[in-house]
């Protein structure tokens, strides 16, 4: 439950060898977990991405355990009823074959197979904070590549101002689709400059291995300075538009979930104060940082905007 590690070792001081062994341990743990959860152990027990580049902008904070990251999820296609539902149910989702259609206001619309997407850019490890709108946070070692590299492939038109991300719908595997609470397919969106920002990645794995289904396999968005719901999972379509896309949570409860949804301790949500957060695995709450601690990198994107209005 708690991450025990001597405080006097800075993560930057750990040698690659130790890191490697630590990862082996995690993978063993993942295998044990998969067995316990009745999942095919092979899905998790192999190390899919053995040679990863260390990506830019990784935090030095200790990552959460694989168990926490893969058992405490919001993935409403698999139910609105509890954080353990995605881990229990997402195994039924088919992630092979998988194609992503990239369309809209672009010069070269394309449909790419996941295998080709994996080759677009070198895969990197990016250890990012993730802050959920519900007031908790984690540190997650993603494997991915900058979304900008994918966008370059399709050459957006000058009129493209926004990017829409659409999640898979597989009714047989996703009981949540039948519930009337939000509009499916799950749709999220970014401004084009947000999508092109070097912090924004498409993730295909975590902890050096393929993404578990409950975390959005095989391809998901990660926008670390925004609340987690902005980072669409299991993406099948990316569309370039000239108008802000209508996003699922925003349609469902516009006063609670804005289009921007930048992490902001000063703008509280009707049900959750956003001033503090509980890092999963820690007892005391910690102060939430503007833009989830990435302000130096992303605040300029919003220069001159009233972030209270554009929440």
């Amino acid at each position: 439950m708690l991450i025990k590690r001597p405080d006097d070792i800075l993560p930057s001081e750990i040698t690659p060898r130790e890191l490697f062994e630590r990862r082996r341990e995690f993978i063993k743990a993942a295998g044990a977990f998969a067995l316990a959860a009745g999942l095919p152990p092979l899905a998790l027990a192999r190390e899919a991405f053995p040679s990863l580049q260390k990506g830019a902008h990784s935090t030095l904070e200790p990552p959460n355990s694989l168990r926490d990251i893969t058992t405490y999820n919001n993935f409403v296609e698999f139910g609105f009823g509890g954080k353990s539902q995605p881990a229990e149910r997402a195994g039924a989702m088919r992630t092979h074959p998988w194609t992503v259609s990239i369309e809209g206001l672009v010069h070269k619309p394309r449909t790419l197979a996941i295998e080709d997407i994996l080759k677009i850019a070198p895969l990197e490890e990016r250890i990012y904070r993730l802050r959920c709108v519900e007031g908790w946070s984690m540190v997650i070692p993603w494997v991915g590549f900058p979304l900008a590299a994918l966008i370059k492939q399709v050459e957006p038109l000058g009129s493209a101002k926004y990017v829409e991300f659409i999640t898979q719908t597989e009714p047989a595997a996703m009981p949540g689709l039948r519930l009337p609470y939000i509009d499916f397919p799950y749709t999220e969106g970014l401004r084009l400059d947000e999508a092109l920002h070097p912090l924004t990645i498409m993730a295909v794995g975590l902890y050096g291995d393929v993404l578990p289904n409950q975390n959005g396999a095989p391809l998901r968005l990660v926008v670390p300075w925004k609340y987690g719901f902005k980072s669409g999972k299991s993406i099948v379509k990316i569309r370039f538009t000239d108008k802000p896309p209508r996003t699922s949570w925003n349609i469902a409860q516009p006063d609670e979930y804005g289009f921007y949804a930048n992490v902001n301790p000063e703008v509280s949500h009707p049900r959750w104060s956003q001033e503090k957060e509980r890092r999963i695995g820690e007892f005391f709450k910690r102060k939430t940082l503007p833009f989830n601690g990435y302000a130096d990198l992303v605040a300029p994107l919003y220069a001159g905007m009233d972030l209270r209005k554009n929440y």
């Binding site: 058992t71 405490y72 908790w136 104060s273």
Partner: protein, 210 residues
């Protein structure tokens, strides 16, 4: 069916122990590291759920008594009511201590600004006088009529409790709705009986005068 006094004593002891089950469950899960990635949230929700469960169980005593004719059931009601307060107190303490860690500024803000917390807190405050006046000495001091009037606030507490739940869920209202329906049945039963009683009295009055 009418239990003898020793039988009733055994029944009470068994019920007392059974009502500790939800708490024991937490202890067991904590011991096995089974509270999940966010143990504080788990504990808060578990205790909140059981507060509401005991509230509905307590409110079920009177209808059950009337339907079954087992009038001795009323002898179990005080204990059940005190368990409502017990779990509400634990739920509130979890919030104060584990969740907020006595950050009074933030707690006051929460109670004032977050509607679901306002509702929960109101329900909790209203429970206090009921718990304090639950014993026989207080019943005597207040007098049966005033005591009954005071304890009718439990209906309001239950409604506020369900509202608290309704307001805190993100989107899936299935469970709050279920509690609302159950509470509606329990309160509806009383309303129906009251209406019948009124009618009967009215008819009796007409008969006497006519």
């Amino acid at each position: 069916m009418q239990p003898t006094p020793p039988q009733l004593a055994v029944l009470k002891a068994a019920l007392f122990a059974a009502c500790l089950w939800p708490l024991a469950q937490l202890g067991w899960l904590a011991w096995k590291d089974g509270l999940g990635a966010n143990p504080i949230e788990f504990i808060t929700r578990h205790l909140g759920t059981w507060t509401l469960n005991f509230l509905l169980i307590t409110l079920a005593v009177t209808p059950l008594r009337h339907l079954s004719g087992w009038h001795w059931l009323i002898r179990l009601r005080r204990m059940l009511g005190l368990y409502v307060f017990f779990y509400a107190l634990l739920h509130f303490l979890t919030y104060l201590w584990l969740d907020q860690f006595f950050d009074w500024m933030s707690i006051v803000k929460d109670i004032a600004k977050r509607p679901f917390i306002t509702a929960g807190f109101t329900a909790f405050l209203l429970l206090i006088p009921l718990a304090v006046t639950s014993n026989a000495a207080m019943l005597k001091r207040l007098g049966g009529r005033r005591w009954t009037q005071l304890h009718r606030s439990v209906y309001a507490i239950a409604i506020i409790g369900v509202v608290h739940y309704w307001w805190l869920v993100k989107k899936d209202i299935t469970l709050p709705l279920l509690y609302a329906v159950l509470l509606g049945i329990l309160l509806g039963f009383r309303a129906l009986r009251l209406a019948r009683e009124r009618q009967r009295q009215l008819r009796a009055a007409i008969y006497e005068n006519g």
